[in-house]
């Protein structure tokens, strides 16, 4: 639903897919809805009852600011570009479309009559090619819904999409006579005419909805990005000498979550320079580039956020406030941080297992797996980043390998072991715990 800067619930519309299928937030509505300044409009999503009863819906799922990228009065369409992509938590759907000039066998309108919660109207008969106001509009520029079998439209429904039997947009509401209590028609500007009307990209849909010029006659819709991870926290903020462990609540996507990206910024006071520090397929991550201290100084404070990436490769927005914060010392340059579980969908070139036992005194074993024959180095570092042992440094065959480390000459503390193989660096940490005599 379109809401003007003065609060008028102006028109309806729909997010619409494009052939690049990149979730560019295009919004289809009616040309005659272009009143006032679209830059100040608010687009409200999911204003709908949670069930079949007529209960009011949420009004907080909004995107501010739109820009008109194309429009024409002949088929009465307007294509807007939203100021930003709606976040995954809105669970948006980018509708598909059908551009052949073929009448829908039955049709559905989704709209906000009188600015009310979302309503769905059904016509179980084929639409008819028609003119609208013959003195002003071209013949056969509209689809005529002769009468709604279920529901109707009202002021506020303008711009709403008409979907065919394949759930694809075939037009947007221009106007008509339909109202509560009558069986009169409505008229929708034809998508087929909007597609290629006029001589420039500013008067037609083609350039925007088929940016790769692939020429399909139809395009299916697609779901929006995954939901944002929530409840991102450091689970061990007081474990001095350990690396901070993040956990969060899982995101969701109809396509499944492939992995999470972990972002970190080095300063609590400047949470702008967020850097991706690693990925995880689980809902936790240990940041081995940081060791928790007890400084309680803002200069030692780090903040973390997490974003989800679905199996299509679409990323959610990073998690919002509050950020997960921790006081710690950076160990930058030591090694690349690792997810708690391997991120790649395909089997990685090398896998590094957690040492066993851990904590240990003074002997432990480290296991790694190679997909292919490769040059491998397995190096132990102390908490200061100094190399204290090099357990492997040479060509190893594919398969599992187990290496023992005897830390008899080392003091208690946290140690990192880093496996480098086939340009892949895996690092984990372990704890040497010497018992007093």
């Amino acid at each position: 639903m379109i809401i003007t800067s003065t609060g008028t619930r102006l028109c309806s519309g729909a997010l619409i897919n494009n052939t690049r299928q990149d979730l560019t937030p295009f919004f289809l509505t009616a040309n005659h809805c272009l009143v006032g300044n679209p830059n100040t409009w608010i687009i409200m999503f999911n204003y709908e009852s949670p069930g079949c009863t007529n209960i009011n819906g949420p009004t907080n799922q909004t995107i501010s600011g739109t820009m008109t990228v194309a429009n024409n009065s002949v088929s009465d369409f307007a294509l807007l570009s939203l100021g930003q992509r709606p976040p995954g938590s809105y669970r948006t759907y980018y509708a598909g479309w059908s551009r052949p000039n073929i009448p829908a066998q039955w049709s559905v309108g989704i709209h906000h009559p009188r600015g009310d919660i979302k309503k769905i109207s059904h016509d179980y008969d084929p639409v008819v090619s028609s003119d609208y106001e013959p003195e002003r509009y071209l013949p056969d520029s509209h689809w005529k819904v002769r009468d709604w079998d279920q529901g109707t439209t009202e002021p506020g429904s303008s711009g709403s999409s008409l979907f065919d039997q394949n759930r694809r947009i075939v037009g947007q509401l221009h106007g008509g006579w339909a109202a509560c209590g009558n069986d009169l028609p409505d008229y929708y500007g034809k998508f087929s005419m909007s597609w290629d009307y006029g001589s420039s990209s500013s008067t037609r849909l083609r350039d925007w909805l088929d940016p790769i010029n692939s020429g399909p006659s139809t395009l299916d819709g697609m779901e929006g990005p995954p939901t944002e991870p929530t409840n991102v926290v450091i689970t061990n903020p007081n474990q001095i000498g350990m690396s901070p462990r993040l956990s969060w609540s899982a995101s969701s996507s109809p396509h499944g979550i492939a992995y999470y990206q972990i972002f970190r910024t080095p300063s609590y006071y400047n949470p702008l320079n967020w850097t991706i520090i690693g990925t995880s397929t689980s809902t936790s991550y240990t940041d081995f580039e940081i060791v928790i201290n007890n400084q309680s100084s803002a200069y030692d404070r780090f903040s973390d956020r997490v974003a989800a990436v679905d199996t299509r490769g679409f990323s959610s927005n990073p998690s919002g406030l509050p950020y997960a914060n921790v006081w710690g010392d950076p160990i930058f340059g030591l090694a690349e941080s690792l997810p708690d579980s391997v991120t790649a969908v395909d089997a990685p070139a090398a896998q590094l297992k957690q040492n066993y036992p851990n904590p240990f005194n003074p002997r432990t074993e480290i296991e790694f797996n190679l997909q292919n024959r490769a040059h491998v180095s397995l190096v132990i570092y102390n908490i200061l980043g100094r190399e204290v042992a090099r357990l492997v440094d040479g060509v190893n065959e594919a398969g599992y390998h187990r290496v023992a480390w005897d830390a008899t000459d080392q003091p208690s503390g946290v140690y990192f072991y880093s496996l480098t193989a086939a340009d892949l660096v895996n690092t984990r940490y372990m704890i040497l715990l010497r018992y007093p005599c």
Partner: protein
């Protein structure tokens, strides 16, 4: 479906019933119904009270040969005809933008669809609806 509107002769009796025009002035040259843009000045209710046209300008045009056009938040249109001194209109359809707060577009549409008569006095038009019990006052500056 058409609603019949009788074109009234400008008799004092009718005007008294409607309370629409203040007086008949034979000095005026009456405008034609068809052609000019008529702007709604007020709505007159059954009890004679007059109310403002709302926050959005309401405009009505009778466009020869048969188009009835109205504009508020939306562009409404239908048909009209004058035959044997009788005026008839169809139901109004139109665009379906949401209505601004305080808009009386729906009242205008209801009035036009239920009109039963009209009168013109100079540049003022009075359209009666609901069996002449109510009226809208309009003016043109054209």
């Amino acid at each position: 479906m058409h609603t019949t509107i009788r074109m009234l002769s400008l008799t004092a009796a009718v005007l008294a019933l409607s309370g629409c025009a203040n007086a008949i002035s034979t000095q005026h040259v009456n405008k034609e119904l068809a052609g000019p843009e008529w702007v709604v000045l007020s709505f007159r209710d059954i009890d004679g009270t007059t109310t403002a046209p709302g926050t959005i300008a309401l405009i009505v045009r009778f466009i020869p040969p048969d188009t009835l056009s109205a504009k508020g938040d939306n562009e409404l249109w239908g048909r009209y005809a004058i035959q044997n001194g009788m005026l008839s209109t169809s139901k109004l359809g139109g665009t379906k933008r949401g209505l601004s707060p305080g808009s009386r577009e729906l009242d205008l549409a209801q009035a036009l669809e239920n009109a039963t008569a009209y009168s013109i006095d100079g540049n003022k038009l009075c359209i009666y609806y609901f069996d002449k019990t109510r009226a809208i006052n309009l003016v043109t500056n054209e």
